[in-house]
Amino acid sequence: MKQKADVPQGTLALMVLKTLDVLGPLHGYGIARRIEQISGDLLAVNQGTLYPVLLKLEQEGVVASEWGASENNRRARFYRLTREGRKQLQVETQDWQQTAAMIERFFAAKAEDLS
């Protein structure tokens, strides 16, 4: 069960980091909305799954959180990227791009290239 969850969770984590990197401090709902806007259906349902991911990232020290006021002036928890998080985002972005490039080349290959 955990094995299966890992892939989307990892992806989700990366999306969270990128979102925070681009938009600065955001509360949970804000993050969910951005991800939904960009990725389409990934977070169209089950937005709640975002919170365990945020907790894990916070425990790892790549994001930090504090209370703040939301746009309709209610108490909300704002998440922001830490310095460590920025570093990790860089590393993971690179990793991701390498992996993606590799997979792409692999898919592009034809039978005659492999012989």
Binding site: H27, G28, Y29, Q47, G48, Y51, Q59, E60, N72, A76
Partner: protein, 885 residues
């Protein structure tokens, strides 16, 4: 790195769980509120907006579960929950809990105690560096280790396999520090003693080989730490002080380190004096006598890389050199190595065998305890099969349920282990402080160390897992559907199971131990009232050695007369007699070969008898209450100028002269040829031990056969403590420097009875443990059978069965097993009493008290064990039981 960071974050959030739950709650509320607001601005009605928001968020509870498992320490939280549940379950059945914890406490405690003693005696006996290469040298042909001083020097100087070899002898001296002269047991040690042991002084300095310059050249003392602590009150100023040892001035050099109490594990010398001063301490100089083996033990560290076999060969080559060079004194000089702490193999071998046996026995006890608790546990699991089935049906995994059961088992075993360890602390503390012989500094420090804790912990966990594993199969095969439907459980009966056999064996062993312990205790009681040939009650024995204060010859005799006169005038003293040793007083004893009057060849093989020999004053028999059967006792006229006379006992008369009648007025000869006339005959007695066969004894007048050894037997019905004080002050008036030891004579018997007493105590303790085990065994079996047959018993009651019949159905089997086991045990016990009679005087099973005692004990045990199950069987309410299903 990251995972460590995460772990700490989890620990922290585990601690602040409540606050975090709050935070999550708020975040969810905010999230949904914002989404609802967005939905509303997109044109949805408030209700619909809220519904859509909730849908989008997803399953809140599942997310919370995920969130929590991310956050805290899940396994740990589960464990805590299991523990809480286990505690609740145990509290619900206090009977079971008490029995289980007590059984485990006893079994684990017994193991901890036995292991501590094993550890102290055999595994880590001496607190010295590099103890593993440290060996004692004993004789090759027997397990003794006596050497003469010249032989020791040859061994020390000629060997090539030891770093160095040290020697020591044990001696009793009078120590006068200027106040309150006292007796002390000491080691006469070779100059290199402490250097061979690689020890450093706690205070001052040790003596060394370089301090020795011939006989009496090193009047130095090194105190043991304990002696310094008790007798010098930790006074650091003692170094350099001069004290009197047997009236010779000795200088205190230093104090030995705290853990060190000599190289014998059970004998704690007060201080150490160089061996070269033997003459001042023991009154004789044997330093040049190659034939006189007075050194108690020699020992040393092997050189690095040398094996014990190589060292033995090396010593034996020195041995053959000694045989060749000194044929008159040294024959058969072979050697063997042994651990010095238990006096080589002499005590080491039997003690090792005894302790190994005891360890094995206690391991067996623990195993039996686990088996019993296992069946108890199994019975409980069967009782709870409904609960287990319900939990399974509700989706609990089997491993989760097993974890719960093991938590309960381990909780029990940890409780039992902790209690057992606590009990063993108390017992070991008492044992460490226990001085079984008031005359000897015999003490065994057996305080538990880290090894003991580790062993106790391992045993605790192992036993928890062991008996916790019993219901595993039961749980794994639980079919929730069947059980909840109420399918009847199979009842196994009729055939004999392994469990039954194990239980019978346990009961039999228990009955055997109970029988033996009652036999031993009865024997012990009887021997206190048996005919000893003297009356140890209402009398005090005061003993001293006049040589400790420098008396000898005629001066000693005058002093002894003055002592007799002075003590006789103490109010309340009925009579006082003097002897050079007192029967059944430990550490004393004297004998001599005697020859028939016709003998001319005085070799030992030609002797007519080897009687015990006493030098006594005229009033001794009166003071000791030894009955004179014929002739006369001595008078003050039986002195150096009168003909030599003796009083003998019946056994002497029978052996040497054929009968008492023939003996009167006859003569016998001493090894030096002196003719002695028999003038009186007294009754037989016990002289060295209660179990000895009737032995010959002879009494000589102390005026004709003087000795500095002085035992005063004072008969009086005054309070012993008051009398002892009066005697002490009288003695002090005569000579304040004379150390005197005093005690009621019947307390001295305690030493003689030591073996019997230890046997009785050990048997009683093991009997108690055996009884405990039998109780849990029977209890487990009875409880199990009652709970399995609850429904059957209910139906029987509903059909009109009487209480008696119900009880018989429920417990008949348990009592049958009890009867079989007890009978077998009783018979075995009667047989075992023969063996016991060698240790305990007058131990016999032909005694109605023994039989009645065993039957009563076993019956009581059965009643105790079946009380709770019987109550349960009788309290069955058929109506409730039937309705339940």
């Amino acid at each position: 790195m990251k995972s460590i960071k995460r772990f700490f974050a989890r620990v922290v959030s585990f601690a602040i769980k409540r606050a975090q739950d709050q935070r999550l709650q708020e975040e969810i509320a905010e999230h949904i509120a914002l989404q609802t607001a967005d939905n509303m601005s997109a044109g949805l009605s408030p209700a619909e907006a809220r519904r859509q928001a909730n849908l989008k968020f997803g399953a809140v509870e599942a997310m919370k579960e995920d969130y929590r498992s991310q956050r805290g320490l899940q396994p740990f939280e589960n464990l805590l929950r299991d523990l809480r549940f286990a505690l609740r379950m145990l509290r619900k059945s206090p009977g079971f809990t008490i029995v289980a914890v007590a059984t485990l406490a006893m079994a684990i405690g017994a193991n901890a105690v036995v292991f501590s003693v094993l550890n102290a005696l055999i595994l880590h006996p001496l607190h010295i560096p590099q103890a593993e290469t440290f060996y004692g040298i004993q004789h090759g042909n027997d397990a003794l280790s006596y050497q003469s001083y010249p032989d020791y020097l040859d061994l020390r100087d000629r060997n090539r396999t030891f770093d160095d070899i040290a020697a020591y002898d044990v001696a009793l001296v009078g120590l006068d520090t200027g106040e309150n002269p006292s007796r002390a047991w000491i080691f006469l040690a070779s100059g290199n003693y402490f250097d061979v042991l690689h020890l450093q002084p706690f205070l001052g300095r040790f003596f060394h080989a370089s301090d020795e310059h011939g006989p009496n050249s090193a009047p130095y003392i090194v105190l043991s730490y304990a002696y310094w602590h008790i007798h010098f009150q930790d006074d650091r100023g003692v170094v350099g002080r001069v004290v009197q040892v047997n009236k010779h001035p000795f200088t205190i050099l230093g104090v030995a380190p705290p853990g060190f109490h000599g190289t014998l594990v059970f004998f704690n010398p007060g201080f150490f004096v160089p061996l070269v001063n033997q003459e001042q301490v023991e009154g004789v100089n044997d330093l040049n006598a190659r034939g006189h083996r007075f050194i108690f033990m020699t020992m040393g560290h092997l050189k690095p890389g040398v094996t014990p076999a190589q060292a033995t060969a090396d010593l034996n080559s020195i041995g053959s050199y000694l045989e060749k060079t000194f044929p008159k004194d040294d024959d058969q000089r072979t050697f063997a190595l042994a651990r010095p702490s238990l006096y080589g193999d002499y005590l080491g071998k039997p003690v090792r065998a005894f302790m190994t046996g005891l360890m094995l026995l206690s391991a067996l006890i623990l195993l039996a305890a686990c088996a019993n608790l296992g069946s108890l546990f199994g019975a409980r699991a069967a009782d709870r099969s409904r609960e287990v089935a319900l939990r399974l049906a509700l989706g609990a995994t089997r491993s989760r349920i097993l974890r719960q059961l093991f938590t309960e088992a381990l909780l029990l075993s940890v409780l039992g282990g902790a209690l057992g360890l606590l009990g063993s602390f108390v017992l070991l503390g008492a044992l460490s402080n226990w001085q079984p012989f008031s005359r000897w500094p015999a003490q065994l420090p057996v305080n538990p160390d880290a090894n003991v804790y580790v062993v106790a912990l391992l045993l605790t966990l192992a036993s928890g897992f062991l008996f916790g594993a019993v219901p595993v199969r039961q749980v794994l095969h639980t079919n929730p559907y069947e059980i909840i439907k109420g399918a009847p459980r199979g009842v196994a009966r009729g055939h004999i199971t392994i469990r039954d056999v194990a239980l019978v064996v346990q009961i039999a062993i228990c009955a055997l131990l109970v029988t033996s312990s009652i036999v031993a205790v009865r024997g012990l009681m009887r021997s206190l009232h048996s005919d000893l040939g003297f009356d140890p009650n209402d009398s005090i024995v005061a003993d001293t050695d006049l040589s400790m204060s420098g008396y000898s010859g005629e001066r000693a005799l005058q002093m002894q007369k003055r002592m007799l006169d002075a003590v006789a005038t103490i109010p309340g003293v009925q009579s006082v007699g003097l002897t050079d040793w007192a029967p059944l007083v430990s550490g004393s004893g004297n004998d001599s070969t005697v020859f028939s009057d016709a003998a001319t060849d005085f070799r030992p093989s030609n002797a007519a008898a080897k009687p015990y020999m006493f030098d006594i004053s005229p009033e001794y028999f009166q003071a000791a209450r030894t009955t004179l059967r014929a002739g006369r006792t001595f008078t003050w006229q039986d002195d150096q100028n009168a003909p030599r006379v003796a009083v003998i006992n019946q056994e002497f008369a029978r052996r040497v002269f054929g009968s008492e009648k023939n003996a009167m007025g006859q003569y016998f000869k001493m090894p030096d040829g002196t003719r002695i006339q028999v003038v009186g005959i007294v009754e037989n007695g016990k002289y060295q031990s209660l179990t000895e066969d009737p032995s010959p004894a002879m009494y000589l007048p102390f005026l004709q056969s003087p000795s500095t050894q002085t035992y005063l037997v004072v008969r009086s019905d005054r309070d012993p403590a008051q009398l002892a004080a009066a005697i002490r002050s009288t003695m002090r008036n005569l000579d304040p420097s004379l150390p005197v030891y005093m005690g009621p004579w019947n307390q001295e018997l305690a030493t003689t009875l030591f073996g019997s007493r230890i046997a009785a105590i050990t048997l009683s303790v093991m009997g108690a443990i055996g009884a405990m085990l039998s109780i849990t065994g029977i209890f487990g079996m009875a409880a199990y059978s009652v709970s399995k047959r609850l429904r059957e018993l209910g139906i029987r009651m509903a059909l009109g069965a009487q209480r008696k019949e119900v009880l018989q159905a429920a417990l008949g089997r348990a009592f049958k097993l009890l009867a079989v086991g007890s009978t077998a045990g009783l018979l075995l016990g009667i047989m075992a009493s023969r063996v016991l009679s060698h240790i305990v005087y007058q131990a016999t099973p032909r005694d109605p008290v023994v039989l009645a005692g065993v039957v009563a004990a076993m019956l009581l045990l059965g009643l105790l064990a079946t009380w709770i199950p019987a109550r349960r069987a009788l309290s069955i309410d058929p109506a409730i039981l039937m309705r339940e299903d």
